[in-house]
Amino acid sequence: MFSAIFGHAPLYRSRKRKTGRLFTPAVAVSFAVLLILIFTCFFASVLAPYNPNAQDLYNRLATPSARHLFGTDQNGRDLFSRILYGGRTALTSALGVVAISMIIGVPLGLISGYKGGRADTFIMRCCDVLLSFPSLLLAFVLVAGLGRNTFNAVLALGIVYVPMLTRLTRSLTLVEKNKVYVSACISLGYSERRIIFRHILPNCISTILVQITLDIAYAILDLASLSFLGLGTQPPQADWGAMLDEGRAFLLINPLLSLIPGFVIVVTVVALNIFSDGLHQYLDPAQTALPGFRKYERKYLKKKEVETDG
């Protein structure tokens, strides 16, 4: 019905929105923050002034100065460099977690939702089993079993995140499955595989994407928790969570040791949350933030004036 208002001219109608854009100020700022983080961590080897593991025992627990931007830790290692390298570990690990959960969870959810019956019951009960454990505890158990290192932490957390993603995908699939275009595909003789992956999946992907953006944030936090407890990244490797833990002993002497990694974690997670929110608002037409009339007219009239002047 909405398209009835817009007119059905056979000529090309611009798909770009005039209002309700993705990059509202909040989203733009958070996106910029994320870009900066990604950039600096990616180029850590270039930007870091020192080797993150290089110890300078004469300069332990130093306060920020021209030589050490954030100061040094208890072993004289440059905090700034450690933050940069730690960020690289944190971000790549978080992406790894999300990637694993996506590769396993999304296809499982699609098959479970589409096929129904025994396959659905089996997959859902497996998910129930995984979900019955508190997620972090389950990760601990897995890491303890597999061995304490970054890779195993990522693997364990990835498995822990699978059930939620499977459930989400399954419910989206159930909704799409009953739509007419799926019946049309069946009547056109398309194989199940084609229907699931080429037709249903693209229609689910936007909601999954929003969830994944949030999951990256959760993964950063959970990985930090794991490292904090000694189950993830092992010393001397730089990692935000581990740094948080190591800095605890020195809170009264040099609080920056814990504060700075903590602050960086908070900033990253908040930025991811805001970006995810903005993405969700943009994709869901009911929630799109539209400008008021006065604001739109001011902008539009201003644009028109500029066009006629220039």
Partner: protein, 318 residues
């Protein structure tokens, strides 16, 4: 060749209803009850009835989009009732469906051109581009619609594309499930004209399902009226509308609001609501609401009899 394109014999389709209590006996929704129809080649067979009468389910059963509970379906003489899985695939190419809501018949994230090309790819139709171009001109649309997503086109354009998509496979039989019900009146007229044109050009055989008597009257050669899963009356269109025999058909036609305000209508207003298809009444399905009800109507189901001129009626009182 006088074999009808599609033929059903005492077709039955029941859906199990999930029972709420554990011990409760499983209930069945009797969607289609003992329907036997036969569609000749080149004909447009109309099925008309209100919601819940089973006409859509009948269409889906003919296309084997549903499993058949009882009876048989024959396509070009061949029994297709029990086919499943891979065996159905070659059949799909020969029978196609046009759905009611054009907007939901297409994948909203797929461009039209891609959707049409996919059909050709899956069924290995040669010279896809030429076929598509030719069909586009048959349905009076320009090639730029190929680059649009379904949301950018109007209902009328999309329904035409749905028809083109069905025709790409050159099927022998098309089921049109209320193809114009979701469209505006002026667009409806365009689509009906298009169907008439295409019928001539491609000698289509079609099952046209609708709830509107006026549309069915305009388009179809033969009409079957359904109520609660059974065919209550069936005849050639002119014969049917000249001579309405079954009380339900008479009610249905009288209930259609007339454009002529001067005509004082003797409208038959039915009391109450249709009975549920789960607990079917004994005897004639229409017995609960029939204005000409007699006690014998609740006794046994009236069979569909030929009363002359190929006019079939299922009523004890006719």
């Amino acid at each position: 060749m006088n074999t009808p394109v599609i033929q059903t014999e005492k077709l039955v389709k029941e859906f199990p209803i999930a029972s709420k209590a554990l011990r409760e006996k499983k209930k069945l929704l009797h969607a289609v009850n003992d329907v036997s129809i036969s569609v000749p080649k080149g004909g447009i067979f109309g099925v008309v009835g209100e919601s819940g009468c089973g006409k859509s389910t009948l269409g889906r059963c003919l296309l084997r989009l549903e499993t058949i509970t009882g009876g048989s379906v024959r396509f070009q003489g061949r029994d297709i009732t029990a086919l499943s899985g891979k065996n159905l695939l070659p059949l799909r190419r020969k029978m196609q469906m046009i759905f009611q809501n054009p907007y939901s018949s297409f994948n909203p994230k797929q461009k039209i051109g891609s959707a049409l090309a996919e059909v050709c790819k899956v069924h290995k139709i040669p010279q896809a581009q030429e076929n598509i171009s030719q069909l586009l001109s048959d349905i009076n649309l320009t090639e730029d619609v190929l680059h649009r997503a379904p949301g950018e086109l109007s209902g009328g354009q999309l329904q035409r594309l749905a028809i083109a998509r069905a025709l790409l496979l050159a099927p022998d039989f098309i089921v049109a499930d209320e193809p114009v019900s979701a469209l505006d009146v002026s667009v409806q007229a365009q689509i009906l004209n298009l169907l008439l044109d295409l019928r001539e050009k491609f000698s289509l055989t079609m099952l046209f399902i609708s709830h509107e008597m006026t549309v069915v009257r305009h388009l179809c050669d033969t009409v079957a009226v359904m109520y609660l899963g059974t065919v209550v009356e069936q005849a050639e269109t002119d014969e049917l509308f000249r001579n309405l025999l079954h009380p339900y058909t008479q009610t249905l036609l009288s209930a259609v609001p007339s454009m002529d305000p001067e005509r004082k209508k003797q409208r038959i207003i039915l009391k109450g609501d249709p009975p549920s298809a789960i607990d079917m009444p004994a005897g004639c399905p229409f017995s609960g609401r029939c204005p000409r009800y007699q006690p014998l109507c609740s006794g046994s189901r009236p069979p569909l009899r030929d009363v002359g001129n190929g006019h079939l009626v299922a009523c004890h009182l006719v």
